[in-house]
């Protein structure tokens, strides 16, 4: 079983977002980066599928030099091969997917896993765009994934207030949701082994973006709120405010 995982290197969840001088992106100074959390879940799932069926896991990232850190983490978790599609510039989701697709077309994996969304731009598009570009089935926001020996797949995906059981066939793309698995921490052995696994680097296939940033801005500041009491005696006032001032009840 040939499994590919697409991973992204993103600002961590503690990041205080500041707008860069060009007004189009975030100011990266002082920001710590990490593997996007949903991508970790995707890597873990790939490793489990490989261990069940035998095969190889290739992790692929499209980005700059610092993306290698995330690729190394995936190698330390146990991935077999890592590829960096190099582009130091910014790409929108479509251009990322098109660049990844060019590499994946050559690799022709049985299973492609992505995180359900990258926690920087929260677009939730790349996985499904990949499937559309490559002409493959896809199931997004997967919390359970069961691949049968005949390559049929039963998965469970999250929907509003519940779940759907979805059937499909390999080769296919799946985007991982929290709950699919608990990603392993890289072991010391894994970290050491990863040092001798190379990261193949090649230029990312060029692709024209389809969505362009006009402005990045902070959300409007909220008016300061107020503390209206310190115990249950504040409840009547709260109800009054919610009814008369906020008009939400």
């Amino acid at each position: 079983m040939n499994i590919a995982v697409c991973v992204n290197h993103v600002p961590d969840t503690e990041t205080k977002v500041r707008v860069a001088p060009d007004g189009l992106a975030i100011d990266r100074s002082g920001v710590n980066f990490m593997m996007s959390p949903y991508d970790e879940i995707a890597v873990e799932e790939a490793l489990r599928i490989r261990d069940k069926f035998t095969g190889a896991v290739t992790v692929i990232a499209l980005g700059g030099e610092s993306h290698k850190e995330t690729l190394r983490k995936a190698l330390a978790m146990g991935a077999d091969r890592a590829v960096l599609l190099r582009d130091d510039g910014a790409r929108d989701s479509y251009a990322v997917a098109a660049g990844l697709a060019a590499e994946l077309r050559a690799l022709a994996p049985d299973v492609i896993l992505c995180g359900k969304q990258s926690i920087d731009y929260d677009d939730a598009q790349v996985g499904t765009l990949l499937a559309a570009i490559l002409g493959l089935p896809s199931v997004a926001v997967v919390v359970k994934l069961a691949i049968a020996d005949d390559r049929s797949v039963i998965c469970e995906r999250e929907i509003e207030g519940g779940h759907e059981t979805v059937r499909t066939r390999l080769p296919a793309v799946f985007t991982a949701q929290k709950g699919l698995n608990d990603p392993r921490y890289p072991s010391l052995k894994g970290i050491m082994a990863a040092k001798s696994k190379p990261i193949e680097e090649k230029p990312a296939a060029p692709a024209a973006p389809r969505v362009e940033a006009v402005a990045l801005r902070k959300p409007p500041a909220k008016n300061p709120g107020r503390i209206i009491g310190t115990d249950a005696s504040a409840v009547p006032e709260l109800v009054r405010l919610l009814h008369e001032e906020a008009k939400v009840i």
């Binding site: 969840t13 990041t15 977002v17 959390p37 949903y38 929108d92 479509y94 926690i119 920087d120 731009y121 929260d122 939730a124 499904t128 765009l129 499937a131 559309a132 089935p137 896809s138 199931v139 926001v141 039963i154 995906r157 999250e158 929907i159 509003e160 207030g161 519940g162 759907e164 059981t165 979805v166 499909t168 066939r169 929290k178 973006p209 389809r210 969505v211 362009e212 940033a213 006009v214 402005a215 990045l216 902070k218 959300p219 008016n223 709120g225 107020r226 503390i227 209206i228 009491g229 310190t230 115990d231 249950a232 504040a234 409840v235 709260l238 109800v239 919610l242 906020a246 939400v248 009840i249």
Partner: protein, 322 residues
């Protein structure tokens, strides 16, 4: 500018987020000059189509096919793309529901279109649409333009107004040719918990954190939610502790919600939690710790014991007949 709005139906009725989408499409069509056509694709659309005229559709197209009953995502995307081409749609709108977010990228690729996903605002400027989307878990807003001739947008549920007016639309049936390969992915079963609204669609959410001190105390959260017809949310801490199911988790690695009212009980307000709910119109916080960060974003706060305040609040709301 021809606008096409894709509406989802459940049990023959259009979903609320679809009504919001049709109305937003119509507003855009009016601003740019053009028509607003709604599309319902599925099996047994029932009265869904007829309602859409009241939400701004000039015409409604229905593609009713028994093969669509299992909501095959590739087939549905093909139907939408084919109808969009026939209607010469310039702008295609879908709700950013779980189904909409799944299908929209396929529609976009089929139409060689860019997709602006999960938009919370649309404006027209100089004859073009500028869409606003939350990024970095809502810590920032990104205004974008789609640069392709055809443009696709998914709209976040519960943000755009679904205003109904007197109005009727003509309803026409259409068919689309589909191949076996379009049905490779099918929904075999759907389980939805009856009762409370899902947090991503709820107008009011009552949410609990570690300050609730144990899973059994979430009965207080549920009682208040039921008094308000609200959804129930939870912080990551209580989900990780196994007190509440993951689909209630609000926050950066949970759900992002945009309710009109968010009541945070025993939640301190970690950065990652705020990322999931700070776009709520009104925030109420109940917490014993006056320094809890949640009070920085709350409109109204009670620095008190949830075990005193919640039952009193529930009782007061039941009395007012809400």
């Amino acid at each position: 500018m021809n606008c096409l709005a894709v509406a989802e139906e459940r049990g023959g009725e259009p979903r609320k987020s679809s009504l919001e989408t049709v109305r937003a499409a119509r507003r855009t069509a009016d601003a740019l000059g053009g028509s607003c056509v709604a599309l319902v694709a599925g099996h047994g659309a029932g009265t869904a189509a007829a309602a859409l005229g009241r939400y701004g559709a000039h015409r409604v197209i229905v593609v009713d096919d028994p093969r669509l009953a299992k909501r095959p995502n590739i087939a549905l995307a093909r139907v939408i793309a084919d109808v969009a081409r026939r209607e010469k749609a310039d702008l295609v709108f879908l709700p950013a529901s779980q189904a909409g977010k799944d299908i929209a990228p396929r529609v976009a690729v089929a139409l060689e279109a860019g997709l602006a996903a999960d938009c919370v605002a649309l404006r027209t400027e100089g004859g073009e649409v500028i869409a606003t989307r939350p990024v970095f878990a809502g810590k920032a807003l990104l205004d974008v333009r789609v640069t392709t001739p055809v443009k696709v947008f998914t709209l976040r549920p519960n943000v755009f107004e679904a205003t109904a007016e007197a109005g009727t639309a003509s309803v026409e049936a259409a068919t689309v040719e589909l191949a076996d390969a379009d049905f490779v992915t099918t929904v075999e079963e759907t389980t939805v918990a009856a009762g409370r609204p899902d947090v991503t669609e709820a107008d009011i959410i009552v949410s609990g954190g570690r300050g609730m001190k144990g899973p059994e105390h979430f009965a207080l959260i549920e009682a208040l939610a039921d008094a308000l017809g609200a959804g129930v949310g939870a912080s990551r801490a209580v989900v990780d502790a196994g007190w509440r199911p993951h689909d209630e988790q609000v926050g950066q690695t949970g759900k992002t919600v945009s309710p009109t009212l968010y009541i945070a009980c025993g939640i301190s307000g970690a950065v990652q939690h705020l990322a999931g709910m700070s776009s709520a119109r009104y925030i109420v916080a109940i917490n014993r710790d006056k320094d809890a960060p949640i009070f920085q974003v709350a409109d109204y706060g009670i620095v008190g014991d949830v075990f005193d305040v919640l039952p009193a609040l529930t009782a007061a709301l039941r009395k007012t007949g809400k």
